[in-house]
Symmetry: C2
Subunit: 318 residues, 2 copies
């Protein structure tokens, strides 16, 4: 049996045919028709699936189910996408419309939840019963796996670890409150910290590399300079790593998973990042002599969305 | 079938015979022999169980299992109490010693985890598949129920929500780090906030009621004055409720349970407390129009420890 997975983003629709073990056989992509009616976007999603099936030579009869990961919240009981800011969707009957194109069981879930689940099926946390996935990108997303299954909460609004509070009444967040994890642990936050440092040190290496324009700073530039030992960039990076270590410790205090997986743009810093966080962790832990979660880098990259979406259907069928 | 539950605290050992539905038939208590060798304390635990069984007229043959809740961390695989500060225990083979007195299956877990589970079996969150319990006492304890089962983590160090960070680099905590939830949401924290207010307003109603000595302030005194409308006590109470609302929102962001249950000393403030938190919540939520966890007061009081300990054995036998 094979499974279809769709990862819908703000720019691309990606679909894949996935085998029982979470390997992608074939994939197909299309630009997301942002601004189009949802029925057109959903038709494109179905077309991507059909193309991936054709490329893989797998007929519909051999497909067990179809899963869709969306950057928003979904109600899988009704098959409805409740919110999806990137697509401008609100209460869209995704399952119902998709099934007009593809007569399959359809499962919907949040994309970070599914990416975390994918890592636990076919990636770095493979086979572990519990893990927490943090995507460190424009925002901070979370995916929780407990007892081998994804947990997105009783009302579908859980595992939004980016919007737990890290600094009560701190930096204002896009969600309307202040001091969210996302404001200190996202790529956006690293850039803000770098820009704050540049304001005070206008002739620093970061400003030089950015051609004197702090709007041209990138997370990568800051991290590369920190890796090269530039003092100010290192200071900014360690400040970021401190907040991330506090967040990792909060994940341990809440859920104590076997592994905490870091994904998203900032995780490209690799062991430079995990080592900086691991250096702080022992001092933060409540039980200093107890074993605790291993910190690891995501291994599936951009494939996690397709794999997680496909595997959620397999989990539910079993 | 009946189940034995033991709740070991720093001052009292409490044991009870509990039926299938989580009702306590009979109980027995003894002072905790703090300072005695652990074998003596464990013998007292067994004696309490035997007395409760005698009072209930239930023979050993009708007892399914024995559960023990301890104020620390336990490794149920080995049956060992890893840490228990109140009792000064470290790597104590609780199961092994207890089974010399009572030949039963023995289960061990953290007391807040078990109290939360008790509420989900026989208390306010009865029958719900997911709930999070917060004890607001000297410290802040947590109990997580997911999929109808308690979750204390992969290494037994989870559901310590009191030691997640609420204010990065904030107030120093007994655990060695700064800014833990416990430093803002415990009874101890409410008192600190009240004392800070009294320092600036030496002739306030709180100081008058405390006979001019701020060390005689109690959480109850502060809450009673706030209920009566005293402006300064109200300000302190609302500051406390604000931090608690942020913590409740973080629980929703992480886990999105069906219900969040408040227990411990401060929860005696009743609806005065839940209303103050509920007033703030809508502004803090990420998804403002989605349903979210109901906030409720614990209903089992001091019995939760015994009931949870007994029911954990039933869960595992089933």
């Amino acid at each position: 049996m094979y499974y279809l997975g769709i990862d819908v983003g703000g720019t691309q629709i990606k679909a894949g045919v996935v085998d029982e073990r979470g390997a992608i056989l074939q994939r197909a992509e299309a630009p997301t028709g942002v601004g189009c009616h949802y029925s057109a976007i959903i038709a494109d999603m179905a077309a991507c699936c059909q193309q991936a099936m054709r490329l893989a030579g797998i007929p519909l009869a051999q497909i067990g189910s179809l899963g869709v990961g969306i950057p928003g919240i979904a109600d899988n009981t009704t098959g409805t996408v409740i919110f999806c800011t990137n697509l401008g969707w609100h209460d869209v009957p995704l399952r119902q419309v998709l099934q007009r194109h593809l007569p399959l069981e359809v499962w919907i879930d949040n994309d970070a939840t599914l990416a975390g689940y994918a890592e636990s099926v076919a990636g770095i946390s493979k086979g572990l019963r519990s893990s927490v996935f943090l995507t460190l990108g424009t925002g901070v997303g979370g995916g929780i796996v407990i007892d081998g299954k994804p947990w997105a909460g009783a009302h579908g609004v859980g595992s939004e670890i980016g919007h737990a509070t890290l600094v009560a009444d701190g930096e204002p967040c896009t969600c309307g409150k202040r001091g969210c994890v996302e404001r200190y642990c996202s790529a956006t936050a690293l850039l803000r910290m770098a820009q704050e440092a540049c304001t005070m040190h206008a002739s620093c290496a970061m400003m030089q590399q950015a051609g004197g324009d702090m709007n041209r700073l990138t997370g990568r530039l800051v991290i590369d300079l920190a890796k090269a030992g530039d003092p100010l960039a290192s200071q900014v990076f360690l400040q970021y790593a401190h907040y991330l270590a506090l967040t990792v410790n909060s994940v341990i205090s809440f859920l104590d998973p076997e592994m905490i997986v870091l994904g998203g743009g900032i995780s490209n810093a690799g062991e430079f990042l995990t080592r900086a966080v691991e250096k702080e962790l022992p001092d933060l832990l409540m039980f200093k002599t107890q074993p605790y979660a291993k910190l690891a880098l995501a291994s599936l990259g951009n494939d996690a969305g397709i794999i997680g979406a496909a595997m959620i259907g397999k989990l539910t069928l079993n």
